[in-house]
Symmetry: C2
Subunit: 381 residues, 2 copies
């Protein structure tokens, strides 16, 4: 819905937000797949106040191309002003009048935290592809350093969707005694071969763009068409056959045509769905770093909650939090059946897990659209 | 299964086939979307003999990247020697000892029929993107000229899957009195927004390759990496989450790594599914023309059986043949529900339609794999 509204209203002026992004820098992080990264900066935002006992904090974890801007205190009622705005704020589910809500940009990203576009201290130039392989666990360990820095002694909750859900799950397994409740939304123990395949097509599109230059493009001169194509594909996987049919069907484009990523001769006209995908591709290419896309999508592929444990059961058996799994009926990137299976597994090893399914045609993106169902699901806690 | 076998056995020598491809050339074809194409050559193969009354002919129609080589008379028991070999031959369902079986390369393609890589008579150079927009109906009208040329007075059957199924349906509507039976496999009245979207991402990948040169590449110097990426994506849509999981799961590559379409740093190893997609991409790029991919995938998008009629019902009401619709339970490119709905529509307007569903995990590709189920379904005729 957010993306659709943006598409429809794109001629309106961009929403201006007061964006108080803070940063925390620490020396280094030893990485799960080997090597170290340092110094590491984590960009974050917070809303509400930490109490004196340091136990009213909630950590919100974001998805692939997300940022720390989960909530907009200056424009709290505008669902487009921040990516989880309808869930966060005074009186909302994540109640900033009671909780200290934190959202940090993941490492590997490009919205303030250290990533491939950051300066490599060894060369004084952007890391590019010399950035090390990072994992979901590395992202979570950097977030852990941040919350300690902020004086948080115990997290009331960790919640996120998609790779934000992978992070929430990883929190539950890595820091079991630190967290009261965890909400894992539209994420599973490890993605399927199909999801890896889609991600790899997207990465190949980026790397096939001659402007990629093996990752050594200059700021603002990155592989825009490759990244646009990657995003076009990703946008299909975030929706569903049904939702795309509802929105676009086979309609010819009615609105002003958007520039396609490449010279695209109009072979028998342009379908509205194509115009929409061009728009979404271009929008991401303007705001996101292509190398970050490679690294974070790879972290999504590589994530397997059982890594480093003798078995999946051993990993899940570590969980001490109440844990809510939310599947989405029409999600084909993280199928609901996989999410349900994971919830069952946690229960089987003695965890306090429950499963709720959002009945939505909106596919994976429902975790950014179905506000009422999502709030109702979270209230099961 | 065919693709999987090829992948596994790719170190074995290529199967050599006796390929008696014939051609038929006619002056010109007036095109559905305007303009004309000419001269037009149609490459085709036939098996069996036409009877004296000219009514024992069967036309087999092929999919996007297919050729006329549906059967291999020299190697009839090898499922890899021709794309529908297990269905065609003496004693097979399409019995070449009783029927005169014809398969023609579609116009727009690159396996002998006139397409973008053919010489434009006006310039004496390949058409490239000066090739006109062609539709499924244009393909069918070219096939109609061919069968008249061959002396066929009546078709005992037209059968095909995917865009071959679109062609079969178009035959039933355009030439209702010429055909006894029609089998439409894994195809519907018109593809969905999602299928158009996947196709457009594939096309953008091709056109983003600098070697594409707006379609004016020289033979053998086409956009191989772009076409490989397009094929990688298409291969995902031809399978299913379940079948990819069965075949690849999250296994790391075991076999010799295949060269990726682009310089691909191994971020945390290579998954077997990635290696498989590189292999499939490269294989198509070596045998198929990129501009043909653009035109034929577009014909798939543009196809709407109701085009030129007052309604879908009017179009379907023209059908006089017995018509069998075959859906595939796990197909997400042409969902079984769409195929079933089409069969219902034909029945509603008085047609002799039936519907059979292949229960298969293999996705869209099941029409090239589920030989026993497919034969059983066709025997319902």
């Amino acid at each position: 819905m957010v993306a659709q509204l943006e598409y429809i209203q794109r001629t309106q002026s961009q929403v201006q937000t007061e964006n108080d992004v803070l940063t925390f820098t620490f020396d280094q992080l030893l990485l799960q797949r080997g090597g170290r990264l340092g110094p590491v900066t984590v960009a974050y935002e917070t809303w509400g106040e930490l109490n004196t006992t340091g136990d009213n904090a909630i950590l919100i974890t974001h998805a692939l191309t997300g940022t720390s801007h989960a909530h907009d205190a200056a424009d709290p009622e505008n669902p487009r002003a921040a990516w989880w705005n309808p869930l966060i704020g005074p009186g909302k589910y994540f109640d900033t009048s009671r909780y200290f809500v934190i959202c940090a940009n993941v490492i590997g990203s490009c919205a303030g935290s250290t990533g491939p576009s950051s300066k490599n201290p060894l060369t004084d130039r952007p890391y590019g592809m010399r950035f090390p392989v990072i994992t979901i666990r590395d992202m979570v360990r950097a977030q852990h350093k941040l919350i300690k820095h902020l004086g948080v002694r115990r997290l009331a909750m960790v919640a996120g969707g998609s790779i934000g859900g992978q992070q929430a799950l990883e929190w539950a397994v890595t820091y079991p005694h630190l967290i009261e409740k965890v909400a894992v939304i539209a994420a599973s123990a490890a993605v399927s071969a199909q999801a890896i395949a889609f991600n790899e097509v997207a990465r190949q599109s980026i790397m096939a763009d001659p402007a990629w230059l093996c990752g050594d493009y200059l700021p603002g001169q990155g592989p825009a068409s490759g990244l646009s194509i990657a995003r076009m594909l990703a946008m299909i996987t975030y929706q569903s056959e049904e939702s795309m049919e509802m929105r676009f069907s086979r309609n010819q484009v009615q609105r002003e045509p958007v520039t396609a990523p490449t010279f695209a001769p109009e072979l028998g006209g342009r379908f509205d769905v194509e115009n929409y995908l061009y728009y979404q591709g271009d929008k991401l290419a303007q705001r996101f770093d292509a190398n970050s896309y490679l690294y974070i999508s790879r972290a999504m592929d590589l994530y397997d909650v059982s890594e480093g444990y003798a078995s999946l059961e051993e990993a899940l058996g570590r969980i001490r939090s109440q844990i809510l799994f939310v599947g989405i009926s029409s999600d084909f990137l993280f199928p609901a059946s996989h999410v349900r299976r994971l919830a069952d597994k946690v229960q089987m090893v003695g965890g306090d897990a429950r499963y709720v399914e959002l009945n939505s045609p909106h596919g994976h993106d429902a975790f950014l659209k179905e506000w009422n169902q999502l709030t109702a699901a979270l209230r099961q806690f």
